[in-house]
Symmetry: C2
Subunit: 366 residues, 2 copies
Amino acid sequence: MTARGIETYFDIEPVEDAMLETPVPVVDLDVAERNIRRWQARCDQLGLANRPHVKTHKLTGLARFQMDVGARGICVQKLGEAEVMADAGISDILMTFNVVGAPKLKRLAALARRTSISLVADNAEVVAGIGAAGRSAGREIDILVECETGAGRNGVQSPLKARELALLIDRTEGARYSGLMTYPATGTRTAAAAILTEARDLIADAGLETHVVSTGGSPEMWSDEGLGVATEYRAGTYVYFDRSLIATGACTHSDCALMVRTTVVSVPTEDRAILDAGSKALTSDLIGLQDFGCVPDLEDARVYKLNEEHGYLDISGTDRKPKVGDVLDVLPNHACPVSNLFDRVALSQGGKLLGLTRVDARGLVW
Amino acid sequence: MTARGIETYFDIEPVEDAMLETPVPVVDLDVAERNIRRWQARCDQLGLANRPHVKTHKLTGLARFQMDVGARGICVQKLGEAEVMADAGISDILMTFNVVGAPKLKRLAALARRTSISLVADNAEVVAGIGAAGRSAGREIDILVECETGAGRNGVQSPLKARELALLIDRTEGARYSGLMTYPATGTRTAAAAILTEARDLIADAGLETHVVSTGGSPEMWSDEGLGVATEYRAGTYVYFDRSLIATGACTHSDCALMVRTTVVSVPTEDRAILDAGSKALTSDLIGLQDFGCVPDLEDARVYKLNEEHGYLDISGTDRKPKVGDVLDVLPNHACPVSNLFDRVALSQGGKLLGLTRVDARGLVW
């Protein structure tokens, strides 16, 4: 399907530029659209199914746009995100997080009745739960076996264990083995590919077909390394990019679509300005970086400290001293948890503020 | 006023224990009530007005309970919090953050028409804005001069500058000078008291009365140091306490009222369990600590890493290995930004889960 203008995917409450309150994330739809199309083109070229992770933006509008540009489906990290995305009409949803516990399995069964949801598992308890949910929904729920490939997070610990779990899934009524999934740590894609290939071949020898081999990650999205075995790619942050992805080389400043608009509320000394964005707007995520964000329009200034509502800007190194009332856009270290802090984000297009839209997949939903 | 039972201050949606989904903050109302009453008793004993900072809990129910137990008023950090608290019937509100910009000043004027809101300022632009809002509201808005006393954040930089700003406020129609405010850094209360005393005396010499000298901070709330000059105290985190305040000696584990309930979703190795609470539930706040929280029921385990939805638990040092499906309560490093992440928190009393209540002052409001 050819996507309509990206702005038509959102319910927008118009706001004049001068009346936009800070702190607030502002998403440049032109940049986001370029990022989405460029990544889709690369996936098409590689013959990889594109399954964007919507945890980054939590916006049904952007998810539907990603689908219309060519995504195979979406990836979510929790049931609440899946429910909201299903409500918005997205029918191919992979949840890359173990579902555990009676209340969540009940919700999973309800979701499975109305949409195509698939899941991951790395242990027998999760497989049993998903199977029960599938039986309750009257269908088989697809499960990818999550494999440890170097990140030291979830995942079965060897190709043999992957085969064992695939066979268990195959024996579990209400569940269907559909493939393998990993989130590779940076620099481990070749090693990950070897593990996934071995697991796939072992599972084939056992008589099961691996339809999907799902890998992901924005930091190394442009690298071809170890992609041979993969059938699909999950990237999330690429929609907005952020300061951490500039550091990994995945993008440049001009690719960053989400900035947190702030106001200078105090300039108590020549060396320091205080912004109205602290850890409740920018988060304390450092992910290996120095400082809690940067101000592209004030390159020599440093966001060196945050309190909950205060951002500390070191202006000792800049000649252009900000004044109280100045509006400064801060590029956050990590875009994903910023989206999670705000009930609404602002959208801009063609250099013009369109207004505010609701971050519809955040909040009440676990 | 004698407060009613604390649980009656909340709209509660009942939830059975087995149906409570994770991750979710659970507030022990017995512990919170004990913290609130103990701190009120100390303020009464010292003759200090108690002005709790509601940014910690963002719950109108707890704020109204704090008022009924004896608080003089409340403290907020942004207009949205003030608006919601005013809607809940709280009429004495101090906002300890510079108000800047036309949209916020318009909201301030509307608030000033219907409640007693006072503010802080550390610069002339903020005074001018508040004065204009006061004139628009047809009343004088009280302003405390924020003083730098060692924290290196906001504040006028000397007692002479405090006098200068107090006189400016006095000359500004729509504004009234009412006193001094500081947020002292840990270990600076004696130095802060000297600065505040000098400022107060200079301002008295200039013919203005300082009605309020407001200090605050939970880390040193039990210390008498430098309190002589203060007329009121702002503490926020003391309602819940947290891991960081155990580290400062302000509380013990048994004083901590907010825990994040999590579920073990994977035990991929003998050394590692994965919880369903990551930085989107616990925040990345370290505030000087090692690890991202602790599990009091599993003392030898360490929350050594977070991703957005994954919490990494090092279980190599414990003999009681958790299993998939186990529910573990995590004590967060910093309670305040955790409240800010959840639209609802669970309440318990007498060891029994009461249900969920809305965090009514978070979210849409800046």
